[in-house]
Amino acid sequence: MTTLDTTTPVAVPPKPAFKVDWVRLAPFLYTVGLFVIWEIGVRISGLPHTILPTPTRVFEAIIQYWSPIWKNSLQTLYTTVLGFMIAVVAGLGIGLFIGWSRTIYAGLYPIMVGFNAIPKVALVPILVIWFGIGTVPAVLTAFLISFFPIVVNVATGLATIEPETEDVLRALGAKKMDIMLKVGIPRSMPYFFGSLKVAITLAFVGSVVSETVASNSGLGNMMASAQSNFNVPLVFAGLLMLAVEGIAMYALMAWVEKRMTGWAHRSTMAN
């Protein structure tokens, strides 16, 4: 792919003035490529806007409706991040609690799995009964859907301490608390930060689902009303904004993960 015809003598290392880093460029090129194929495909097949609008039409819609799009994007970002942050705090707390002892782990794990199996969209009506429509059920749905992976990861990190490590410390007179502070918690951090990427993605799913069925604002609500007005380009504009927010938050979490637990990427312990 990157073989360029060079006439440089073998002894001298080739040093072109601009070395194109194809790997770093690839995501952008592929994204542009996807849009180009989409554009051409729609134009050739002659599909109407009301079924599948071209990307140019979607960008037009973004410019045309910028003010509501911007407002609703911020609203969705706000509910998602708020729900996600509650999930981080609660997930960390519950994860530490569950991972504390094997008995608690054994007892609560099936309950958690059962809870996680419930489609969270089914909970939205209940949340609406309790809190009315609007921001609160969206935040709570984002929280409910995203905290499970955090809990499981933190608890797993704690529950899988090597027995030898525990023996070495217990022989020195370590209490359960010492073992948790010195080994358990640092050890579960890569699992925790790793789970944030999954959790933030799920949080978007939760907030948008809730906004779609039970809110007057947010991208979910905006897309639902655009759809009932047959404004398909606006629906796609909403999707595009969601994708942008999702990628940005995911990248942020990946960065945080790397910053906080660099050691885990080098050593073979956590993967």
Partner: protein, 263 residues
């Protein structure tokens, strides 16, 4: 004659309740202060169990374990332990790993912060003794297996235990590294005032290092014989090729083969 440092008297240890595995039965063993004892026996005979009984990680159902004139009812902090798997914490540097026991042991944990420099100096001295001078700032995953095991020995020794328990510490290493570490252990024992119990399945290792080799029967484990190793100290690696040495190794080998067959 002073009383032995460790005295195991008629101990039975059963895992997992009254109907569980009887790991050791009628176990008797005495270890004197300053002695180097190697424990050998067929695999699964209860060697690691013996370690855990001595350190107070397990409490026997019958019989008594007495360490430093006290019956063991909870973990005894005068011991240091090292296992086959070095279990260094990857988020700590080697030096921080070695200092870990000091954050736990009652006697040191309250002094650690105020006397940090003193403890760090001690850790660095230990690192030097095992041939790891200057590696304290490296993370364990930057070290080879043999180096990790050396650091592991430092961690087991940092709180100046009277008793060092080693459970197959060199099992995962190649032959050359293993012989290097034998010399490290030999020199540690010679230079420090420490009693060492080494569990191993390598009979040459046991004869090369120990003052006394203890042979255990197949499960449920008990001591079937004790052999005093007659070779003079300091011992050099050349000893490994002497006929008397190999004779002793062969004799032990025969005994363990019989013990296995009896199971």
């Amino acid at each position: 004659m002073a009383s032995p440092l460790v005295s195991i008297e008629n101990v039975d240890m059963r895992y997992g309740g009254p109907t569980g595995t009887l790991a050791v039965s009628g176990l008797n063993l005495k270890i004197n202060r300053g002695e180097f004892v190697a424990v050998v026996g067929p695999s699964g005979c209860g060697k690691s169990t013996l370690m855990k009984l001595t350190t107070g990680l397990h409490i026997p159902q019958t019989g008594a374990v007495i360490v430093a004139n006290q019956q063991v009812t909870k973990p005894v902090s005068i011991v240091g332990m090292a296992f086959q798997n070095p279990t260094m914490l990857p988020w700590r540097t080697t030096l921080e790993n070695i200092l870990l026991p000091l954050e736990i042991v009652e006697r040191h944990r309250h002094r650690l912060r105020s006397h940090k420099a003193e403890y760090v100096a001690k850790a660095e001295k230990l690192l030097e003794t095992v041939g790891l001078k200057g590696f304290g700032e490296k993370f364990p995953w930057q070290l080879s297996g043999g180096m990790q095991q050396r650091a592991n020995l430092c961690r087991a020794l940092i709180h100046e235990p009277e008793l060092l328990m080693l459970d197959e510490p060199f099992g995962a290493l190649d032959a050359f590294t293993r012989e290097e570490l034998w010399c490290v252990i030999r020199d540690l024992h010679a230079s420090q005032d420490v009693t060492i119990v080494l569990v191993t399945h390598d009979l040459r290792e046991s004869v090369f290092l120990a003052d006394k080799v203890v042979v255990m029967s197949a499960r449920p484990g008990r001591v079937i014989s004790e052999h005093v190793v007659p070779f003079e100290r300091p011992r050099q690696l050349e000893l490994l090729y002497e006929p008397a040495f190999n004779e002793m190794v062969q004799k032990l080998h025969g005994e363990i083969a019989t013990a296995r067959a009896a199971a």
